[in-house]
């Protein structure tokens, strides 16, 4: 389908590492912006992360990782040392031709490099800048570093997460990278919308912690009223049954949630109206909740010999809210996701040995715009094109940058090849 990209003509320079900012800018790349990932050979972690096809990091491993592909889809790569005076000079030439500059350094780093908003606005008065940090650019915690799970913790999400009656548990390893990355994309689109209407730039100071707090807003109101939600695992404050129940096979489960007496009656019918389900204690919302542990046990006995997927379909056809607890293998094989073409089998030309591999897609479809996975950039793949066409550098100037170690297309010679398949992108 021939189509004009939504963000056609929008150009983004993003000095980005790890997860949160790459995830956010990838949305803009998907929408057709030219997103230039500015990389440094001093930080190969993102490219070393894997997973590598069949567990083998190849000769050009830095272009082959699956998680790198997922988080850097449709971008270009400029491997330029912006801390070097010549690198900075070239970067500023690019800034003149760009709409957005992003970074996820700690606050102060861009200023030290002479690349803070004020410096960039002198070069390009309509520039939009976005700095994505753990705690923002102001306030007593501004200098603190973070991992996604430390942000989960500082936001309050972790405290609220845990099995019923148990201690707080790490909510996830990198949910907050995605959650904040989603907020990055929203903020950047707002700024671009604003620029479309007014022609003006904007300085965006985005905090991962605040994104987390915003995501648990009801608990923040409750805290001011002296109430803290109990940890309930997969249980609910008033609904029962509400949780996961064992199924046939090793570590197989089904989630079932009942929100009303009507839904309870549907579940009873779906179970063939066993005698225990007639117990008056289970006849009302309050009764079911008060006796939920007994109820869960009885329901578990019914689910335990059944296949989780077949049971999901049976229950759903009976109007019961239920879902099998899926593994990654289940997801990739799922008929619904496949009918919706959710996964994209991507054949990365920069990782020919891997062949096509499926990656998760976007959870939205737009009727006037089709998102597709076009490319994942090799390290420095677009160095020459960008510096020539946008920054106006001559071949000689570009050669000089290469000779002085400011521009690269391969990691440093002593960069170790990652061992094994690589991690799954956990935040550590």
């Amino acid at each position: 389908m021939q189509q004009k990209s939504i963000l056609s003509g929008v150009r983004v320079l993003s000095i980005e590492q790890v997860h949160v900012l790459p995830w956010g800018t990838a949305f803009l790349a998907d929408l057709g912006a030219e997103v230039i990932r500015v990389e440094s050979v001093e930080h190969m972690n993102d490219r070393a992360m894997g997973p590598f096809a069949d567990g083998k990091a190849g000769e050009a491993w830095w272009n082959e990782g699956g998680t790198f592909a997922y988080w850097n889809r449709n971008k270009e790569s400029l491997c330029l040392e912006v801390a070097h005076p010549l690198g900075k000079e070239a970067f500023l030439k690019l800034v003149k031709r760009c709409d957005v500059v992003c970074d996820n350094f700690r606050p102060g780093t861009m200023r030290r490099l002479g690349l803070d908003h004020e410096s960039l606005a002198r070069v390009n008065p309509a520039i939009i800048t976005l700095s994505c940090t753990a705690y923002g650019h102001t306030g007593p915690w501004r200098a603190a570093g973070a991992r996604a799970r430390t942000v989960d913790a500082a936001s309050g999400l972790t405290y609220l997460t845990g099995y019923e009656g148990g201690p707080s548990i790490r909510a996830s390893s990198n949910y907050m990278d995605h959650n904040s990355g989603n907020n990055v994309a929203f903020a950047l689109l707002l700024a671009l919308y604003n620029k479309q209407k007014t022609g003006k730039g904007l300085r965006i100071d985005l905090s991962m912690q605040e994104t987390g707090v915003q995501s648990i807003a009801p608990a923040i109101l409750e805290a001011q009223d002296g109430y803290i939600r109990p940890r309930l695992g997969t249980a609910h404050l008033w609904k029962a049954p509400h949780g996961v129940f064992p199924c046939q096979g090793q570590d197989r489960w089904i989630a079932i949630t009942v929100s009303s007496d009507q839904e309870w009656q549907r579940l009873r019918k779906a179970m063939g109206e066993p005698a225990w389900s007639m117990d008056a204690r289970y006849g009302t919302v309050t009764g079911r909740w008060n006796h939920r542990h007994d109820l869960d046990k009885l329901l578990s006995e019914w689910t335990a010999p059944q296949d989780s997927k077949a049971l999901m379909h049976h229950l759903q056809r009976c109007g019961v809210t239920a879902a099998a607890v899926y593994t990654a293998a289940d997801l990739v094989a799922d008929p619904h996701l496949n009918e919706r073409s959710y996964f994209e089998a991507f054949d990365n030309k920069n990782a020919p040995a891997a062949g096509p591999r499926k990656l998760a897609g976007r959870p939205f479809r737009m009727s006037n715009y089709q998102i597709s996975l076009r490319q994942v950039p090799a390290l420095g793949e677009h160095n020459r094109k960008l510096l020539q066409e946008l920054a106006g550098l001559t071949d000689g100037e570009i050669e000089s940058l290469v000779e002085q170690g400011v521009l690269h297309t391969t990691p440093k010679p002593d960069e170790p090849r990652p061992q094994g398949g690589g991690g799954w992108g956990g935040g550590g």
Binding site: I6, L7, P51, T67, P140, A144, G145, R149, T150, A154, G156, Y159, Y163, S168, I169, R170, D177, H178, N179, F186, A187, L189, N194, Q196, D205, S207, V213, Q214, I216, A217, A219, I220, A223, Q224, D225, Y227, T234, H236, L237, W253, Q316, V320, A323, Y326, T327, A328, D330, L331, V332, H336, R340, L359, A360, P363, F364, S367, N368, G421, W424, G426
Partner: protein, 402 residues
């Protein structure tokens, strides 16, 4: 409230948290949001505990209050002929409609995209459903736990290895679907600004869930590995929660230049953790109980805010496991101007989280409004905006349409 989206009109016809939060994200940036609720009971979220003050009250549910700021509210039964007619008049004037019905129920009401597009060709229709607009599960029932189950989150992410699957608190998959919906809606508004055309956006909460665990899918498609929950349990330096005087903390080995144990030994004043049996992650996990006692004893002498300040000053990276009271009273967030005080006639004065980014140094939601009471803006919208007489409005109210 002035904001980037001050000229954008948003209509919300949802019964899911994702729909409410998506519309709120637009309202937080100044969009003129009208939330439509069924007459009588209103939005289901109004009846979700807990309630400010404890006792059930439809104007005091924290879930409703939190996700409906910066909107006006009207009641309307769009299932009645006169209700539908009023709804279509609102659709005609809006830029965006956020809705959360299954495709079949929307079609039953005659409100499918093609019908709405006839009324308003510029309309951006953002549909947020659990399973999307097509596919074999389209009419299945969903909620946040169902999304976490089917989306891979329960099996792979939060719980402990030797326990049943367990998920995150407070509807994070609804939040994730809402953020994706807001992204797609903003993209559609940018395109609408270029071409004048609207479009239909199909957001699936199930798919939004699959998109969040970092490497779930590629771990399988690249390695054949099926990621499973657990792993941080016995990791004193990388995942466990340790007690402080007034709370909990989780440590990391970041910021130590590869000399994690040296840096932490010095910071805690505990040279015993320099023992070779704690040198790397593998040996630390094997000997975790010993390490736990050593580190825990020292951390127990710190209070949270002092620990954060001193650890940060030495370049160490930690995360305070803050409870919501600590978050709501955080001096850091206070100085950031992140929490905004809003008055509500029933819930009183409370501090609400902002958009989590400052624009040119300012919180863009300052000067906003608390959640609407049920039907609060009926007069303003139906008479002021659509030009109904107060007599007509009373008749609609008597007929149960508003």
């Amino acid at each position: 409230m002035q904001g980037i989206l001050s000229n954008v009109k948003v209509l919300e016809l949802t019964h899911s948290l994702a729909g409410a939060f998506c519309a709120k994200l637009m309202g937080d940036q100044g969009a003129n949001v009208i939330k439509i609720e069924p007459p009588g009971r209103g939005d289901g979220a109004r009846h979700e505990p807990p309630f400010i003050g404890g006792a059930p009250h439809p104007e005091r549910s924290t879930l409703f209050l939190a996700y409906n700021t910066n909107k006006r509210g009207v009641t309307l039964d769009v299932g009645t002929p006169s209700g539908k007619e009023l709804f279509l008049r609102l659709v005609k004037e809006t830029d965006v409609l956020v809705e959360s019905h299954t495709p079949s129920s929307l079609e039953e009401m005659g409100l499918e995209f093609t019908a709405l597009q006839e009324v308003n060709p510029r309309l951006v229709l953002t549909s947020i459903t659990y399973f999307g607009q097509n596919g074999p599960y389209t009419d299945y029932h969903g909620d946040d736990l169902i999304a976490q189950a089917l989306g891979g989150f329960l099996y792979a992410v939060t719980g402990l290895a030797d326990r049943p699957p367990m998920g995150t608190a407070l509807y994070q998959m609804e939040v994730t679907a809402a953020r994706n919906a807001a992204i797609a809606t903003m993209a559609a508004l940018v395109q609408q600004g270029d071409t004048g055309e609207g479009q239909h956006i199909d957001v699936s909460t199930f798919e939004a869930t699959v998109s969040v665990p970092g490497g779930l899918i590629q771990q399988y498609t690249y390695l054949g590995g099926v990621q499973r929950r657990g792993g941080g349990e016995n990791s004193v330096m990388d995942g466990m929660h340790l007690k402080t005087l007034d709370g909990e903390v989780t440590l990391t080995t970041a910021g130590t230049g590869g000399r994690a144990m040296e840096a932490w030994a010095e910071f805690l004043g505990e040279p015993a953790i320099l023992d070779p049996k704690f040198t790397d992650r593998r040996t630390r996990t094997r000997n975790w109980k010993e390490l736990y006692d050593l580190v825990q004893n020292k951390l127990a002498q710190w209070n949270n805010l002092d620990l954060m300040r001193e650890a940060t000053a030495r370049g160490l990276v930690i995360g305070l496991v803050q409870d919501p009271v600590q978050v709501a009273t955080s001096p850091h967030l206070q100085e950031r101007g992140f929490l905004l005080e809003l008055d509500h006639p029933e819930a009183g004065r409370l501090k609400y989280p902002g958009p989590a980014f400052l624009l040119d140094g300012e919180n863009p939601s300052a000067g906003g409004r608390a959640a609407p009471t049920l039907g609060e803006h009926n007069l303003e919208v139906y008479c002021g905006q659509l030009g109904l007489s107060t007599h007509e409005l009373s008749a609609l109210a008597a007929a149960g349409v508003v």
